[in-house]
């Protein structure tokens, strides 16, 4: 006789350590349905953005995510520059190269972060420690360029805030050179390991048709054979001036997603190298003063996929609408198919394979527009989260 059991994973995901809740409906070992509950880290950023002036918003949206913290401000400034006539027409040459370098270094550190977590989760703690060990020099590069390991504060409407000094270029190149053998090692240790293959192949499959239907983006889409990449399809920065490949796999399982990310590391290293070699001298900021009325769209390929920003201006110094769509918003939803049909032990891995970023997904409101009072603050949210867990404990026995 079949017996339906509900297993909650969360609100703290065992792998990602970010708050969300997956309610798994299982029969025996098999997952038959899944309910995704979000909202624990909902901060009201879209609303907040309407109360900041255009320059401040770049800093605000950088706080959406601590891992892909260059993608959100970059997509935002692209959207504003779209109102002004397009990035290529507004931003100085050198700034375009610097933006691309930051964007790609970010991809390298983000993919290494995920690789480490994935290794940890399947019990390969050596992979975890080594991936994060090799991520560290990349963060040092960031600290050298912009003074911070994360939250770079580089994006500015019309350019970048800091230049890359000439004396830093050889240090960056050496860091990249040192990274290649490490990626080679990961490629061998992860992709050729029979145990990892057995553990990851066939798990959490998202077929090509499902990927299209759920509108997923980034490595999650590319691992399922959907050949999309904003960097190539709608080039920004200097992606159309360097040689690189879009990595696409067909299988759609966790192994394919891992493969895509590992191989993308090579491409990212190559892109940064080429940019460092080609970068011309010159201005880094166009010194934009006013934003005319109009609407603009900016999207970039964040490490997790397309990050989309829509900005509308009415000619004042604040946006009147700012819509943000992080890649995980589409990717996490697809867990509904990727995890269903698998076993419980595989499900958490499948859920994490899209490299979800919950903070990105929940960036909306905690303000009451009518009274302009905060309805919830951080403590309330924590309390709410705890209460919700308590409530769940009572309902799910």
């Amino acid at each position: 006789m079949s017996h339906k059991v509900v297993i909650p994973i969360g609100p703290y995901h065992p792998l990602q350590e970010e708050p969300e809740l997956f309610r798994l409906y299982v029969e025996g070992e098999k997952v038959i349905d899944i309910d995704i509950v979000l909202g624990y880290v909902h901060r009201g950023i879209e609303e907040l953005s309407e109360h900041k002036h255009f320059d401040q918003v770049a800093f605000l949206v950088e706080r959406i995510c601590g891992i892909c913290s260059s993608s959100h401000p970059y997509a935002y400034v692209l959207a504003v520059e779209d109102i002004l006539g397009g990035e290529a027409n507004v931003v100085p040459e050198r700034a375009l190269y610097i933006r691309t370098i930051i964007d790609e270094l970010q991809r390298i550190h983000s993919h290494l972060l995920w690789l480490g977590l994935a290794g940890h989760f399947i019990g390969y703690n050596t992979v975890w420690m080594w991936a994060w060990k090799y991520r560290e020099p990349v963060l040092d590069c960031f600290e050298m360029i912009c003074g911070n390991r994360n939250h770079y504060g580089m994006s500015k409407i019309g350019g970048v805030r800091r230049d890359i000094r000439d004396e830093d270029v050889p240090i960056l190149k050496k860091a990249l050179d040192d990274l290649v053998p490490a990626v080679n090692m990961f490629k061998g240790a992860v992709m050729d390991d029979p145990v990892i293959q057995a553990r990851l192949k066939g798990v959490g499959i998202l077929t090509k048709q499902q990927a299209i239907d759920w509108c997923v983006v980034g490595p999650t889409a590319r691992a399922s054979g959907v050949n999309i990449d904003v960097r190539r399809d709608d080039p920004y920065g200097t992606y159309n001036r360097v040689d690189w490949n879009v990595i696409v796999e067909k299988e759609g399982d966790v192994f394919a997603k891992t493969t895509v990310r590992i191989l993308e590391l090579y491409e990212s290293i190559s892109i940064v190298r080429q940019c460092l070699n080609k970068m011309p001298k010159g201005e880094i900021d166009a010194d934009i003063k006013d934003i005319p009325s109009g609407e603009g769209i900016g999207h970039v390929e964040a490490p997790r996929g397309e990050c989309f920003h829509y900005v509308r201006s009415d000619g004042t110094n604040r946006p009147i609408r700012h819509k943000i769509r992080a890649p995980s918003y589409m990717n996490v939803a697809s867990n509904k198919v990727a995890a269903v049909g698998g076993t419980i032990s595989d499900s958490a891995l499948a859920l994490a394979a899209v490299d979800p970023c919950y903070c990105c997904t929940e960036r909306l409101i905690v303000l009451d527009k009518h009274t302009d009072k905060k309805i919830m603050n951080g403590w309330d949210l924590i309390k709410l989260s705890q209460e919700k867990t308590e409530k769940l404990k009572k309902t799910i026995k």
Binding site: D233, G296, H370
Partner: protein, 142 residues
């Protein structure tokens, strides 16, 4: 035939106005009652990817932009609808056409109070259960 011509050809009678912001950014308006058919044509027949929809409270009514991308050329086509009835805004759901629209319609429902007719699972996405009914955080007027 370019995708631009194909869209204009397929949607011909549905398009109220067409605005070419740049080579890669197109905006066009359609009537709210046509949105499901338009979204179906763009997504299924012309294989555009649905990026997201963005709702906005404007003085004239509730406006929704449905952003679609044609990744082969990197062009973004945004279909605009204006729902004039602010007291009880409703529009047909496009979530039955493709799964990718499910969450954003739930989000617009809770934040802007737009009723999506035919949505398979219209419940809260981001707001807490304790959030009062009938309060829509992204609405500018009461």
């Amino acid at each position: 035939m370019s995708i631009l011509e194909k869209i204009k050809d397929k949607l011909d009678s549905k398009i109220i106005d067409w605005h070419e912001h740049s080579e890669k950014r197109m905006y066009f308006s359609v009537k709210p009652q046509d949105i499901k058919e338009v979204a179906g044509l763009l997504f299924n027949d012309l294989s555009l990817r649905f990026i997201i929809a963005s709702g906005q409270d404007t003085p004239k009514g509730i406006e929704i932009l449905y952003h679609f991308s044609f990744d082969k050329t990197g062009q973004i086509f945004s279909a605009r609808v204006l729902i004039e009835d602010k007291n009880n805004p409703s529009i047909e759901s496009i979530a039955p056409l493709f799964k990718g629209a499910e969450w954003i319609e739930r989000e617009m429902w809770e934040l802007l109070g737009i009723n999506f007719i035919g949505h398979p699972n219209l419940k809260r996405l981001l707001l807490a259960e304790e959030w009062p009914e009938g309060k829509y955080p992204l609405r500018h007027s009461t």
